[in-house]
């Protein structure tokens, strides 16, 4: 076991939690991520392997889903698989062996920061940040979108729980933008 201490994207040892009005904003650091892109001619194989990993079919365009593991669609024949960091810190290597030569797998865990917004009136917050039509989201959407000029994924679990994955290096700016929009909207 190595002895290096991780810090959160916002630079602390523990994730940050903020509340304003009906909305709670939570920094999420306990997820591991790996991208999976089907190799040319191995699309079906990749889909089967993903279904086995997720316990559900690989999500279609702009969707997320899964049972045993979660995944969201990133682009044609490309997904991001998500798992618990505690059990899957080396997720890319772990699923890489499941997928074999059918897909290209790349570690993405620390490329992203993630903030979860929970509570009522989330659409009022997001309409100040992104062109994504969050008011129409019902759950299961995964839209790559610019959030206050930062390239993010907006994942809707349900109308009262939405995750934003953004570039880790901009975690401070993204957190500031989300909190500012919460204060403006509520």
């Amino acid at each position: 076991m190595h002895d290096l201490v991780a810090i959160t994207p916002l630079g602390a040892v523990r994730p940050k939690v903020d509340s304003h009005g009906p909305v709670t904003l939570t920094e999420v650091t306990d997820r591991a991520l790996a991208s999976v892109a089907a190799r040319l001619g191995h699309e079906a194989e990749t889909a089967t392997a993903l279904e086995r990993l997720l316990g559900a079919p690989a999500p279609g365009p702009a969707r997320h889903g899964g049972k045993s593991l979660m995944a969201f669609w990133m682009g044609p024949e490309q997904w991001m698989v998500e798992a618990s960091f505690e059990t899957h810190e080396d997720l890319a290597r772990q699923i890489g062996s499941d997928l074999g030569a059918a897909a290209s797998v790349t570690e993405q865990t620390d490329a992203w920061c993630r903030f979860d917004l929970t509570g009522d009136g989330l659409a009022d917050v997001f309409e100040r940040l992104t062109t994504a039509n969050v008011r129409a989201f019902e759950g299961g959407e995964a839209q790559r979108a610019s959030v206050d000029h930062m390239g993010c994924f907006v994942l809707c679990h349900d109308a009262r729980h939405i995750s934003v994955l953004g570039p880790r290096s901009s975690a401070g700016s993204l957190h500031h933008a989300l909190l500012t929009a919460m204060r403006s909207a509520h």
Binding site: A37, D110, T131, S170, L174
Partner: protein, 984 residues
Amino acid sequence: MSQVNRLNGGLIDQSRSISFRFDDRWMKGHPGDTLASALLANGVRLMGRSFKYHRPRGPLTAGSEEPNAIVELRDGARQEPNTRATTAELFDGLTARSQNRWPSLAFDALSINDRLSSFFAAGFYYKTFMWPAAFWEKLYEPMIRRAAGLGSLSLKADPDNYDKGYLHCDVLIIGAGPAGLAAALTAGEAGLSVILADEDSLAGGRLNAESFAMGQQAGHAWAAETAARLAAMPNVRLMTRTTVLGAFDHGIYGALERVSDHLAVPAEGKPRQILWRIYSRRAILAGGATERPIVFENNDRPGIMLASAMRAYANRWAATPAQEIAVFTNNDDGHRTAADLTAKGVLVAAVIDTRPDAPKGQGYEVIAGGTITNTSGRLGLAQVEVTDAKGNRRQIKCGALGVSGGWNPNVSLTCHQRGRPAWDVDIHAFVPGGTLPEGMVVAGAANGVFSTHAALHAGAEAAVGIAADLGHTAPSPDLPEAEDAPVAITPFWHVSGAKRAWVDQQNDVTAKDIKLAHQENFTSVEHLKRYTTLGMATDQGKTSNMAGLAIMAEVAGKSIPEVGTTMFRPPYTPTAIGAFAGRSRGTDFRPIRKTPSHFWAEEQGAEFVEVGMWLRAQWFPRAGETHWRESVDREVLQTRRSVGVCDVTTLGKIDVQGSDAAEFLNAIYCNGFAKLAVGRTRYGLMLREDGIAMDDGTAGRLAEDHFVVTTTTANAVGVYRHMEFVRQCLYPDMDVQLISTTEAWAQFAVAGPRSRELLRKIVDPEFDMTNEGFPFMACGEITVCGGLRARLFRISFSGELAYEIAVPTRYGDAMIRRLMEAGREFDVVPYGTEALGVMRIEKGHAAGNELNGTTTALNLGMDRMVSTKKDSIGAVLSRREGLNEPDALRLVGLRPVSPDKPVPAGAHLMTKGSAVDAAHDQGYVTSACYSPNLGHQIGLAFLKSGHERMGEILRLVSPLTGIDHEVEVVSAHFVDPEGDRLRA
């Protein structure tokens, strides 16, 4: 002072009083007032001075089309010039100042311009300030700037915030008058998602300004009730104080919501305004119509206003500009003003109707076939001169005159794409025409349908049509009985023979100016506009363009549709620049990217520099260092002597996998990658297809089918995009997959003769770190600190024995601390981007200054890298003759002949004895620094045939900065030219 011209009733709260100040006078008004209505109620008609002649002016309108009553609102940093008193909602403590006057509004020194007006006709600036040319900068421009100018700025930062946002709807309804409300009700009940936007604080449009009933209710009461019904519908968003500013492609609209303008200070955390981008599937423009004036002699005195505005002040705001008024009209609508003001107890001295068959007055005199031929009153109207049908003149005493020349549909938004208004002979006005913005229909007065009954039904029908179009069924709307009078108008644009008759009151354009423009052959309507400035003021000619066109048509002997109309462009009303900036200002101008060692570097007191969006440590000052060069020199010397560490995470990292990955790299790099062994890294140069260098970096082969490509910090995004283009568009059947991993890994350069010893303490013992086991340009996946997955590359930008080590980003902070701690025994030093730059210049490595978008592999001295054994992007055109001239620029080093002299980047090279001009230019310096190792400045330069000119003495010149001294051409490799250190 009391509210001498306050009437009873109105839609204001007369039970409460609020205070406001205009210039140095405090007055009282009521909640619901605008600044203009409150001033009128207080007996104030004079509200400003005109732009050119400084004529005294009062409000012409009661809305956003106002040309005259333009004031500076608020104090201190919130001071805002050029605000319309007619739309500024009154709040307790509001302050405002009149503009364009000195020393006071009542006595203005520059009103002398008015006496000199014969010199200031159309085109005056162009004619007068032409000669002599030298006078322009020194005399004319400063003079004009002093005299003109609308209002003044606070010159302080705006303390308020502005948001931007994005809304989606099935149907956007613009305007909440009768047509808009009926449309919203219908669409809302059909289940469509609806946005109803209106610039006013109250929904209702003209219903709030008129006295007629809707069914059993007052019109304003129906509007309020309907607005409340809409607000309660979850699928309807009623947005008051929201102006739709522009119609853009594919159903996109821009709208400005004034969230806090009606408050003294925005609430905590709330914006002052929000600029919304609205994505609509359909839109209904129900923006109503604007009354137009008639042009006559001295028609601009305070107290002369549109008849509809006078009615609005009386009915909605319970204010009248005077106790005795008259009306000048060419249609039945003017009579409504007379009737409504009579009902409010205001004396109507006469209605002057240009029509010989004018209707009879109901308790007021009607002068049929009459015109107004002059007015008098120094700072406000005192009387009008009426010429009746027989030519007899008489004076009529009145403090205000309502003028009605008919109504113009508000077609502005229909023109923002490809719409071209069409002339409607029945109402004598332009109505929407041509191709409307995609998905837009127009309803009600905006479409030339002026009766309330017809507007209600047109709005509802538009919504029914859209609902059906979008697959919904709209129930038939429940609409009240409403006024349904026909339009009765005989066109009458201006009283002929007038000399000082104002067409555009904001830009002081007279009827005479328009005739003059025509006489001088400015016959196209667009030329007329620019020559006279008609319609070019902040009101964009909403009340003046039509009269201008009519006069133009008359002098040209054409019809109005033949003359045509000028185009309307966004924004519909003036918009604060802050709203377009949104939150993107100051430190929030754009997102900031922080490196994994940022928090640690902050603790060290590092100076940071912006590189793209990244903040990178520029140097790390130590106690006692007073100049940045001391810190940088120390960092360079210490790195070259022992070991230094630098965060290089910002370099782009792109994961390239697939069975064709090597072939793909062969396509994007000009040099070969197919034969690169697993566990090895290679420098690569990417060309653009035109043969110019695009970017450089290294690519490491982690497996047969897996590479990690690095890019420069600045080009990371562009290179990725380019690689996707090559993959998807040029070689769609290559098996290769790309993803950026820049942010996933914290990467540190560890450079210097003791770097291996330092890393030996970090890298887990099972990995061979010897020069043989991990030689120059090796790479591999390793573990560190007892098992953490990591990547190690033996590459060097500094020219020293060096490595780059990468760990998952969350451990980057711990890694930099560990490197510093473990390196203490080797005298480790952190270095910033300045030292990084000094060392790469000393080593002669090209960077952004050299890969500057104009240089080729040949210029960079890398022409032999462009493989002829394979194809690659840019290879063909890099061999063009013009890029391979014998005297092409070559990268060289420069050394000042006198060691104390600078070698500044940007300076040019000249042969000794030649003229200093572009024709004799030999090249230019791209990068320069002080080399602490050599003890003098050095530079990298592009020099014609530079590779053959080693040792030559050249003249270095920079006429702008006074540089002119000698430099010697030397190899660009100032340090360790043989490369022994990096292979040690």
